[in-house]
Amino acid sequence: MADPVLKIDGLEVLFPGFSGDVHAVNGVDLDVQPGEIVGLVGESGSAKSVTAMTALGLLPAGAFRQSAGTISILGRDVATMSEREMNKLRGGDVAMIFQEPQTALNPTKTIGKQMLRVIELHSNLRGLAARDRAIELLKDMRINDAEEILGRYPFELSGGMRQRILIGMAFACSPKLLVADEPTTALDVTVQRQVLQLLHAKARQTGASVLFISHDLAVISQFCDRIYVMYAGRVVESGPAQKVLGNPQHPYTAALIEALPEDANPGEPLASIPGTVPNLVNPPKGCAFQARCRHAHAACDSRPVLTDVGTKHQAACWLREEISA
């Protein structure tokens, strides 16, 4: 098996706050293999974005503290890399796409200028060759009048168009890892579908690995090979997407799926999860989901670890432990 593109071990991140430190990430292990599309799913506060941002060194310095864990990208330990090396890595071997396509593009420069800059920065292509590359990238994104688009400004384009351009730019330097943080949340469903399709196809075509962050179970289920379900800064379940979502082994994953109105009977109340996410200033000692879990019992006062519950399928729950024992 090749080296993982991204490997996170025992990551703990906390944010200093005035009423105490906020323990946002509490021991996350995660890996992304070459060519793999990995989903990171969870509700707000689950720290799925924080985990990814920490891995890419994107959190503002001083605002956080990584108290434990190691991160390696393409086999290199991030801790040993300088700021310059990190910058070179980002936009080179690692690309990123964010939720708001408006803010990622410079409003005062044409699409063409911005694309050429990225291409020239990270490849040997110059002038017309670089321009041809840009057009090719846009065509791959099903943008037909690519030459014309190059002369446009971001505000002249729709959100879907902008996001497709950003994906095109992300692939400009043939990244080995693409981190996509809720790339379609701000888009309409028809556009979302198109963007997801293009992203998926391009990743498969170039063999890039994707770390896909989303709160949308349905999107995750269709897009990803393997997923991590996060809750309160911990991974509670992981495994192949279809397995985890089709046969959830952690009560939280199960409850989440049950709460979807998709299969609900309009006449009956939805199966909601009572309560709210725990306060991470004083994270619970044991299982973080304990307080909201209908299966909670004495064992849940100590922290469960991820254990195999099937082929490549893991869950962090004492309940499974008991069953398998």
């Binding site: 168009m161 309409d188 399709q197």
Partner: protein, 318 residues
């Protein structure tokens, strides 16, 4: 059976001028609504779905009465002043962070008439209990609450003037799934208890299917399909409704993401297309699509598409 409609919209048009020249004459108009006919039934929930730019928000404003349509008529079958209330999408910005919760909740009341503080507080306490908030929260400020609780506060506020109709403008799209379920359940309970009429604006088809009795699908300022939600969403007739439903990712889908759509851009609402608005994106487009389409009743719903109407046998009214 007589239809008890709480509001009737007939042929509503809404256009806004843009880009005035030096004499104050507009360069043109944005055509936000282009002939909306809707009957809103008392005690029922009407879902309004469509993509951004389809005119949902403008429609909500017309329903609220804060915008007067450029054309057409809104008939309200109730008398009181505060008959339509609204719950916004983002509880972060729809609640003033500088007001204590009890003031937030009772604002629709004290914004128009002076009432003693005690009376307002009592009202707030009553409503807070209704939406599942503990009474001690009344003196706190909105930022101290989670998204779900904030949306409960917003709902309590909408209830404070005892409205007949509540417009729910994507009330759960900013919430986590687990919280969304709680809010949807609350809305259902309140409707049952108070006989409220909901107009539920959403892009989330599965929520609409769960919550709504009827659904109206909007495209470029028009309703293109309108009918009972289970029927419409199970067997969409209009090609746009179908496209919309096909686009929605579901956990049960097996075929992956499928093929990419080639044209996802909405036509401009500054210069309305001639003929059928959906013509350029429609796979069925053909003869007859060069003229404006009217709503045609089909077996289960009304559809604004001549092609479907022609192939679907019309239900003979009973």
């Amino acid at each position: 059976m007589t239809i008890d409609s709480v509001m009737t919209l007939s042929n509503i048009h809404m256009r806004f001028p843009f880009g005035e020249d030096w004499r104050g004459r507009p360069h043109g108009f944005v055509h936000a609504l282009n002939g909306i006919d809707l009957e809103i039934l008392r005690g029922k929930t009407l879902g309004v779905v469509g993509e951004s730019g389809c005119g949902k928000s403008t429609l909500a404003q017309v329903l609220m009465g804060i915008r007067k349509p450029s054309e057409g008529e809104v008939i309200r079958n109730f008398g009181a002043d505060h008959d339509v209330q609204i719950v916004f999408q983002d509880p972060q910005s729809s609640l003033n962070a500088r007001m204590p919760v009890w003031r937030v909740i009772t604002e629709p009341v004290f914004a128009v008439t002076k009432r003693p503080k005690a009376e307002l507080r009592a009202l707030a306490a009553d409503l807070a209990a209704k939406v599942g908030l503990r009474p001690e929260v009344l003196d706190r400020y909105p930022h101290e609450f989670s998204g779900g609780q904030r949306q409960r506060i917003a709902i309590a506020r909408a209830l404070s003037s005892d409205p007949d109709v509540i417009v729910l403008d994507e009330p759960t799209s900013a919430l986590d799934i687990s919280i969304q379920a709680q809010i949807l359940n609350l809305l259902k309970d309140l409707q049952a208890e108070r006989g409220l009429t909901y107009i539920f604006i959403s892009h989330d088809i599965s929520v609409v299917r769960y919550l709504c009795d009827e659904v109206a699908v909007m495209y470029l300022g028009q309703v293109v399909e309108h009918g009972a939600s289970d029927a419409v969403l199970a067997a969409p007739k209009h090609p746009y409704t179908r496209l919309l439903l096909d686009s929605i990712p579901t956990m049960r889908a097996t075929g992956g993401l499928g093929e990419s759509l080639s044209n996802t851009d909405l036509p401009s609402n500054r210069n309305l297309p001639t003929g059928c608005f959906f013509k350029d994106r429609c796979e069925l487009a053909g003869v007859g699509c060069d003229v404006r389409q009217n709503m045609v009743p089909t077996e289960q719903a009304q559809v604004r598409c001549c092609q479907t109407a022609a192939t679907t046998p019309q239900k003979v009214s009973a």
